[in-house]
Amino acid sequence: MIWVLDILLLILLPLTAIVVVRSRDLMVAAIVYSIYSFDMAIIYTQLNAPDVGLAEAAVGAGATTILFLIAITKTERMEE
């Protein structure tokens, strides 16, 4: 029954991507992008690629989100 968990993780991806696209607040978009990236890391590990999963969990969910948050605090927060 592991494929049920697999399909649930895969369905979570477009939902979080749509939240990233639709939200007016850029801070919310950056944090939901972190959730999206961590979900993608779990899927990579499930597909037997642990190197790529480790890199995605460190780079996507950590570094890229922090860079987005710094850039948002340097500029403006709300999208007009």
Binding site: A58, G62, L67, I70
Partner: protein, 143 residues
């Protein structure tokens, strides 16, 4: 001391406990990358994330004391320099550019494994310096 300075004792204590473990895990990921999942890219980003955690909890100026700009400029080209040095050393011992088995110090397989480990360490240092310098430059004080 500026008025908008943010300090939290609980966060600083937890970070003081966590940062050595993150550093140890990053070094493990780099140097154990030929037996288990890992390697230079992942370990470099993990090492840089410990410095980012330190500068989020404390002030950014205290973190830039350890990694000054002159030090980062020296630290950043270490990976390409090590890679090019080992590659050209293989040419010196009558091989191709990165044909590690031509190096005469150990056997063929062992020499390749040792060279791969050294190169991964260089890649890790470069990636760490790059992420730290991007964080410091992008999160500078005046907007």
């Amino acid at each position: 001391m500026p008025a908008d300075r943010w300090e939290d004792v609980i966060a600083q204590t937890i970070a003081r406990l966590l940062i050595p473990m993150i550093l140890l895990y990053g070094i493990y990921v780099i140097f154990h990358g030929h037996l288990s999942p890992g390697g230079g890219f992942q370990g470099g980003v993990i090492l840089a994330s410990s410095v980012i955690l330190y500068s989020l909890v404390h002030e950014l100026d205290q973190a830039t004391k350890f990694f000054k700009k002159k030090f980062r400029v020296i630290l950043e080209p270490i990976g390409p320099i090590i890679f090019a040095f080992i590659g050209l050393l293989c040419i010196f011992f009558s091989g191709n550019f990165i044909q590690y088995s031509k190096l005469p110090f150990l056997g063929d397989k062992e020499m390749a494994a040792v060279s791969i480990t050294i190169i991964e360490a260089g890649i890790g240092v470069t990636v760490m310096a790059m992420v730290i310098s991007i964080f410091f430059s992008l999160g500078g004080r005046n907007r």
